[in-house]
């Protein structure tokens, strides 16, 4: 009795389930034995260097690309045998928004509603209003800024009320204010019960996710809550304000106990083995001829974690 209850619960709450999901292109392994689960209601930030397999993963989960090995279930459906069921219940916003530039905002959305077989005649209006697109609904896409196009691309991905939404670098090339507005929309969708999987190169966006996955060379190296990922960073973070910047960086990189040095704004973030003293760093920089204006311990960020994990 218990076991069967758990089975029911499992089907309801697990939105993505992969087992050794693998994709090869010739001798190149784009996605290498991926095993993970995503529960309903989560916002998964999927990170990784260019070419690490993020888009290939999404395309397999949508049934657009067949796995070379392994399997995956999305919303309880097998991505190969039941790909139409998967796509009917999932939304996808690709890196290159597929919009008809000579059509208006309303026409584009109505077109996608037709493709998805949306029956509710009010749905197009509803989506236009909920995403704030109503004021531009009569304008041709070619006359719209990137920010509006991005919003329309999101609208076309949710017009059929999907339970799961894939967003592939939705905020690339968008200004900081528009990025924030877009994330407000993601939260609203998430609050309505939509599960979201989103790729990004912006580490501040990853902080807003409930789960963060990090890929490198086709392998999923971590999948955790952002807070736990930051706690798991093995080392101490320092913020170093020193001039000139690049020689200071190079001097620190050579130092024993220093694991990683990165440019961060107009200062450096340094990760060292735990227990290293502040004075030790200070003296080394001064001895190398650097002008140190400030040196203080810092809190780990997701960027630190990303650099440590994906930098290998």
């Amino acid at each position: 009795m218990r076991a069967s209850l758990r089975d029911v619960e499992y089907q309801v709450t697990t939105v993505i389930h992969t087992e050794n999901l693998t994709r090869r292109f010739g001798s190149f392994v784009a996605v290498d034995h991926l095993n993970f689960e995503l529960q309903a209601g989560e916002v998964l930030g999927y990170l990784g260097p260019n070419g690490s397999g993020k888009t290939t993963t999404i395309r397999m989960l949508l049934g657009l690309l067949h796995p070379s090995e392994g399997r995956a279930q999305v919303l309880g459906y097998d991505v190969v045998a039941q790909s139409e069921e998967v796509r009917a219940r999932s939304g996808y916003m690709s890196q290159k928004f597929s919009l008809y530039h000579e059509l208006t905002v309303h026409e584009n959305l109505a077109f996608y509603a037709g493709v998805y077989g949306v029956r509710n005649p009010n749905r197009v209006k509803e989506v236009l209003e909920s995403l704030g697109l109503a004021p531009v609904q009569g304008q041709a896409v070619q006359n719209l800024s990137t920010g509006w196009r991005q919003r329309l691309a999101l609208a076309t991905a949710i017009v059929h009320q999907p339970g799961l939404l894939f967003l592939d670098e939705p905020t690339s090339g968008v200004d900081p204010v528009a990025r924030r507005a877009f994330w407000d929309l993601i939260y609203e969708l998430s609050a309505q019960g939509i599960t979201v999987m989103v790729t990004t190169h912006y580490m501040d966006e990853a902080e807003y996710c409930s789960q963060v996955g990090i890929m490198r060379q086709g392998r999923l190296l971590a999948l955790e809550e952002p807070g736990r990922l930051k706690q798991s960073l093995p080392g101490q973070v320092w913020e170093v304000y020193a001039e000139p910047l690049l020689p200071a960086l190079e001097a620190l990189e050579k130092l024993t106990g220093v694991q990683r040095v990165a440019l961060a704004g107009d200062f450096l973030r340094v990760i060292t083995t735990p227990g290293l003293e502040l004075d030790f760093l200070h003296q080394h920089l001064a001895a190398s001829g650097m002008q140190v204006t400030a040196l203080q311990p810092g809190a780990a960020t997701l960027e630190d974690v990303f650099m440590t994990i994906s930098g290998g």
Partner: protein, 312 residues
């Protein structure tokens, strides 16, 4: 005083009814790194194209070093290296062949391009990949090849249009190390646009472009000083309660999420009042207040304020 290498005086450019660049004047000296920031559609790309002579202004002039773009466009342009936002490589040609093609287009003689190619490939770290087809390069390597192409003619002036958009954090780090090294070794005048505030903070000077106008110019420190004593950080639970209470406070102008915290922008002179009032209202509503304190404004706070048009 370093030589002024880029000088724009009162530039105007319209497309139909859009005044894309509406009276921009700026100067960039040798060794300077000038960052152009601003909302999407503010005119950043158009301004860069005017500076490198791809577009002609209806009014105003561009001087590069001692040369006037309107009268000596060929000689003026020979001093420029330009990396467009979506630059194209010949994917079926090798790294070296791409460089040769570019060198020929730029009129570099056969005896000079060979040694120079080697030099720039070593500089960007692609020397060992010179025989690889461009189509076989990773995203990060393509970015470096783009920079190598822009450097082939030993430019004194480097114009980069969002060189790191869509690029992962590791590649961004490597790219920036190259830019800083170039500045240290050859002191060109560099002007770049970027949507990343951490990159902007690294520039020697910043210009904020809005609706075709340069509304604010200065160092990152000067720009941040615009909001001194006007930004507070709020941490606690639950997020939605904190956000709505902060937004409802009469002294608060703006509420933005930064990771797991909020930044509140308060009206001039309202810091203490908001501090007391908001702490009380959060407790009264049963919220958990972890911290509420004034902080140093970040560049992103300033960007958001300027984008809202509440600039002084």
């Amino acid at each position: 005083m370093s030589e002024i290498l880029i000088r724009a005086n009162g530039l105007h450019k319209t497309f139909g009814s859009t005044h894309a660049v509406a009276g921009v004047s700026l100067q960039v000296a040798a060794g300077e790194l000038y960052g152009l920031v601003g909302p999407d559609g503010a005119g950043k790309t158009t301004l860069l194209r005017l500076l490198c002579g791809v577009l002609h202004p209806e009014q105003g002039e561009v001087w590069l070093g001692q040369l006037d773009m309107a009268h000596q466009p060929e000689q003026a342009r020979q001093q420029i290296g330009y990396l467009a936002q979506r630059f194209s490589l010949y994917e079926e040609l090798t790294v070296l062949e791409n460089l040769r093609f570019f060198a020929e287009v730029r009129g570099i003689s056969a005896q000079h391009w060979g040694p120079r190619s080697q030099e720039v490939l070593e500089f960007v770290g692609l020397a060992e990949f010179s025989d690889r087809r461009a189509g076989q390069l990773s995203g990060g390597m393509k970015q470096k090849l783009g920079l190598a192409l822009a450097l082939i003619n030993r430019p004194r002036i480097l114009l980069l249009d969002e060189p790191t958009t869509g690029v992962d954090p590791l590649t961004r780090q490597e790219f920036w190390r190259l830019i800083i090294r170039l500045l240290q070794e050859e002191a060109p005048a560099v002007l770049l646009s970027t949507p990343y505030m951490d990159e902007a903070a690294r520039c020697t000077r910043l210009g904020f472009l809005q609706a075709g106008k340069l509304v604010c110019e200065g160092t990152a420190r000067q720009l941040r000083a615009r909001l001194t004593n006007r930004v507070m950080e709020l941490a606690g639970q639950p997020y939605s309660l904190l956000a709505s209470l902060a937004k409802a406070d009469p002294g608060v102008e703006g509420v933005q999420r930064f990771g797991n915290r909020f930044h509140l922008r308060v009206q001039e002179g309202q810091l203490q009042a908001v501090l007391q009032r908001l702490a009380g209202s959060i407790r009264a509503a049963g919220g958990q207040l972890d911290s509420l304190q004034p902080i140093e404004p970040q560049l992103e706070d300033v960007f958001i304020q300027l984008s809202e048009g509440s600039a002084l």
